[in-house]
């Protein structure tokens, strides 16, 4: 059975691009539009990996990561954050919030799948 990836991003473009890359790589994809929405769908989606953006309305990526790590059922789900090249501080903050790893935007589909493989069995 294919693995499920939950993508959390307020940009439809980014969601579509992740969807394309991930479904081509054989993953099942569930989408959420911001952190709050991400936490809402978590239970139904039961993701194997989560990919999240940082700057989003309602609830940002940091809040979302903390939410997942504080959830008894999903605390062990690997979370990859989407960041831009220059965001050393943001990467660091995401890491401290409990992010498992990161993907640099604009992402290369091959690297994306590699990053997932690195954190998900």
């Amino acid at each position: 059975m294919s693995k499920t990836v939950l993508t959390v991003d307020d940009s439809r473009t980014m969601r579509d691009m992740l969807m394309l890359a991930l479904s081509n790589a054989g993953y099942r994809v569930v989408q959420a539009e911001d952190g709050m929405h991400g936490l809402e769908v978590l239970k139904d989606a039961r993701p194997d990996v989560i990919i999240t953006d940082i700057n989003m309305p309602r609830m940002d990526g940091f809040g979302f990561i903390e939410g997942v790590r504080g959830d008894g059922l999903h605390r062990a789900v690997p979370i990859l954050v989407l960041t831009t090249e220059s965001d050393a501080a943001k990467k660091d903050r995401a890491r401290r919030a409990g992010a498992t790893g990161w993907i640099v935007k604009p992402f290369d589909p091959v690297k994306l799948v590699e990053a997932i493989r690195r954190v998900a069995a």
Partner: protein, 727 residues
């Protein structure tokens, strides 16, 4: 369609939304709002555009967005105050960004000089760059750069650290001790080992020596460490990149060395010290001379072989692959929705046919079939409403373009204008929205160019120098009503009348009411601008606006008060696909009159109908004289006139709040009908808006009430005189 092409389309759509958000946010900030979320939303809009543009290699767009984003970042961090001038520059930058997005989408270039000038203006706002602006070397600060150390890569060559490397193959000894945090962040040792295994041949040894007895084990703790000997064609960077995500949460040594030898801990320590010393020396000199570090070769025992990828003590938790997808929205091709709407239209017709057949078959209204049909009708209507709702969109998408337009026109005319909007979320059919943009644009231009006075004249009239334009949308009796109001001088009636006379549109002695004079501006060939201005006078007059509104099945009217301003009101159908109509017969033909036009129906009494001169007749309804229009005669269904007392009069209101009474032979009933275009299937017919198919399968024409009324007014001039005489 290629998936990436589709995503690119989505990107551009999203850009439009982001540009709208950006503009609204900046305008709200301009009004003095200081909500951090507003600033953040503005930042996010530009950041998203930059992000997507990067994915599609739209470099020009990325660069400008980047400069813009930097300044917004300062605004967000409070290093830059949101003053009026700053926001004005940002609004112009937002316009530039919009132009760049459109250029990227539609091809074609943008004004490079304007772009560079705005980019320079934006950079000038940068409080940090202000002192050291040297062009180009601005700091790369996209997000959260206000705190935290700046990491810079120090290039160090490890080439000379290798010991006797086999040709093309490297040997590494890796020692890896995870900290509890590594597991808390859902990283897994087994996966890291597996990744190492992919790089080449790995011999993995797990050290259990620190594992306590069961009672003392902390489930969140970390007790194991690993030694990996790796033979790979990859370099050290590739090896280290496996640990990229965990380097803070573990102790990691990657030592290039002989594969058959193990490095003991003390040796590693000394090696690290040497490496650190080397690195510090490099940092001090910022130069990378060749370094030679000998890895210890002696005192090493034989390796204990372990199998790759099976050394983890941290299996993944149970995470079944089941569960439902939880998307809040889906994207559907418009063609599919239109096809659905067409099918529902056919369903409506079919359902009407069934009802008709049932009646013809003589089945009682109370029969089970009739009840079933009633339910079917109800359901059909609900399906239709739901399907139409899919196509409905907020008018926001059109309203969003207006602030920019207002700024441009204001700049061109030298007027100061303040735009207020209301009802942006009012929903209407997508087609209506698309066709609304042009007339609305023209009305706004008109309101600023002709409606508002210059600041000097406003000041002289005791008004604030800043002129007001208010744009609003609301739903009213099954239609959408859009108003453009200005607080300008109002229609200059003597001048309008003089121009109309000069252009031969009316006679000099035509006794016109104020309202009728105002409506003269909708006549073809009328233009009040004394000098044809660049803005409104593009050969497009209000008559074109009126025609395009009419083509949408809408109406437009004007109310104006001298010195207080004018209000243009457009009323449009919510959809162009279905219509609630009254089915009537006229001279043996079946016609449908749009229900929205009808105010009431009545049976004319002999005493209330008055003729005066020629064929003009009026009907007195509650002390008002309303012109009586014989539809059969107007449409040339018959040469003579129907007897009003044997007919039914439909009191209708057409554009400009003009009331008329349409004379028809009989009313058959009310029905929802599916609109079929006559233009597409046949050709335009004067007085007819469209056609439909009735329950019995026959085609019926849908009356264009405004056109019929307008036609009869031309023919029956003199009514105005009558009204004037009657008082």
């Amino acid at each position: 369609m290629d998936a990436m092409v589709a995503i690119k389309q989505t990107f551009f759509q999203e850009c439009e939304e982001q540009l709208g958000e950006l503009e609204i946010g900046l305008l709200v900030l301009q009004d003095g709002d200081t909500d951090p979320e507003t600033v953040n939303a503005v930042f996010r809009a530009v950041h998203s555009i930059k992000g997507g543009a990067g994915a599609f290699n739209l470099d020009e767009l990325v660069h400008f967005a980047h400069v813009f984003e930097n300044v917004l970042d300062h605004l967000r961090a409070g290093r830059l105050a949101a003053s009026g001038d700053v926001l004005k520059t940002m609004l112009r930058a937002a316009d530039m960004l919009a132009d760049l997005v459109r250029a990227a989408r539609d091809g074609g270039g943008t004004d490079a000089a304007r772009r560079d000038m705005l980019a320079a203006e934006l950079r000038a706002l940068d409080p940090e760059a202000a002192g050291l602006e040297s062009g180009g070397s601005h700091r790369d600060s996209s997000e959260d750069n206000s705190e935290g150390p700046v990491f810079e890569a120090v290039p160090i060559s490890f080439d000379d650290m290798e010991i006797e490397p086999a040709p093309g193959e490297h040997h590494f000894c890796i020692r890896f001790t995870p900290k509890p945090d590594l597991y808390a962040k859902a990283n897994e040792t087994a996966l890291l080992m597996r990744e190492l295994g992919r790089l080449g041949e790995a011999v993995i040894t797990c050290d259990f020596s620190r594992l306590p007895v069961l009672d003392e084990i902390d489930p969140e703790g970390s007790y194991l460490s690993w030694t990996i000997e790796l033979r790979t064609v990859q370099d050290e960077t590739a090896v280290r990149s496996v640990f990229e995500f965990v380097e803070w949460d573990c102790e990691l040594d990657v030592v290039p060395g002989d594969a058959v030898q193990r490095v003991d801990e003390g040796a590693v320590e000394s090696l690290i010290e040497k490496m650190q010393a080397t690195i510090e020396a490099e940092l001090a000199s910022q130069k990378v001379p060749p370094t030679a570090i000998q890895a210890p070769r002696d005192e090493l025992s034989a390796p204990t072989a372990g199998s790759a990828g099976q050394a983890s003590s941290n299996p993944p938790g149970g995470k079944p692959d089941t569960g439902k997808s939880s998307q809040a929205t889906i994207r559907v091709d418009l063609d599919r929705v239109d096809r659905l709407i067409n099918l529902v239209g056919e369903l409506v017709i079919n359902q009407a046919m069934l009802t008709q057949m049932m009646l013809e078959a003589g089945l009682a209204r109370a029969s089970g079939v009739a009840n079933g049909l009633d339910e079917l009708e109800q359901l059909t209507r609900e399906i239709q409403d739901s399907v139409m709702a899919i196509r409905a969109q907020p008018v926001k998408s059109v309203f969003q373009r207006i602030p920019r337009l207002v700024r441009e026109v204001a700049a061109m005319t030298g007027k100061t204008v303040r735009l207020t909007t209301a009802g942006e979320n009012t929903e209407v059919d997508k087609t209506v929205i698309e066709r609304l943009a042009d007339p609305l644009t023209h009305m706004i231009r008109n309101a600023i160019d002709h409606g508002l006075e210059t600041p000097e004249r406003r000041a002289a009239a005791g008004k604030p120098e800043e002129g007001l334009v208010h744009l609003s949308a609301l739903h009213r009796s099954g239609r959408i009503v859009i108003e453009v109001a200005d607080d300008g001088a109002g229609i200059d009636r003597p001048r309008v009348k003089a121009i109309a006379v000069a252009k031969g549109l009316i006679t000099a002695d035509a006794p016109l009411s104020d309202e009728e004079i105002d409506n003269l501006i909708f006549l073809p060939g009328f233009s009040t601008a004394s000098a044809v201005s660049d803005i409104s006078g593009r050969g497009v007059g209000m008559d074109v606006v009126r025609r395009s509104i009419l083509a949408l099945g809408g109406r437009i009217s004007i109310r104006s008060k001298p010195r207080q301003g004018s209000t243009f009101t457009m009323s449009l159908p919510l959809t162009l696909a279905v219509l609630d109509g009254m089915v009537v017969t006229v001279a043996g033909e079946t016609l449908v009159v749009p229900l929205t036009a009808i105010i009431e129906t009545l049976q004319p009494k002999h005493a209330s109908v008055h003729g005066f001169g020629g064929n003009t007749r009026v009907i007195a309804i509650r002390d008002q004289f309303i012109p009586l229009i014989d539809v059969g005669h107007e449409l040339d269904y018959r040469a003579g006139f129907a007897d009003p007392c044997k007919s039914v009069a439909l009191l209708v209101e057409s554009e400009g709040h003009v009331r008329s009474a349409l004379l028809v032979d009989a009313i058959l009933g009310q029905r929802q009908v599916v609109i079929k275009s006559l233009e597409t299937n046949y050709q335009h017919v004067q007085g007819i808006a469209a056609a439909t198919i009735l329950g019995d399968g026959r085609v019926a024409l849908i009356l264009d009430v405004d056109a019929v009324v307008a036609g009869s007014r031309v023919a029956g001039a003199g009514f105005e005189q009558f009204c004037a005489a009657a008082g």
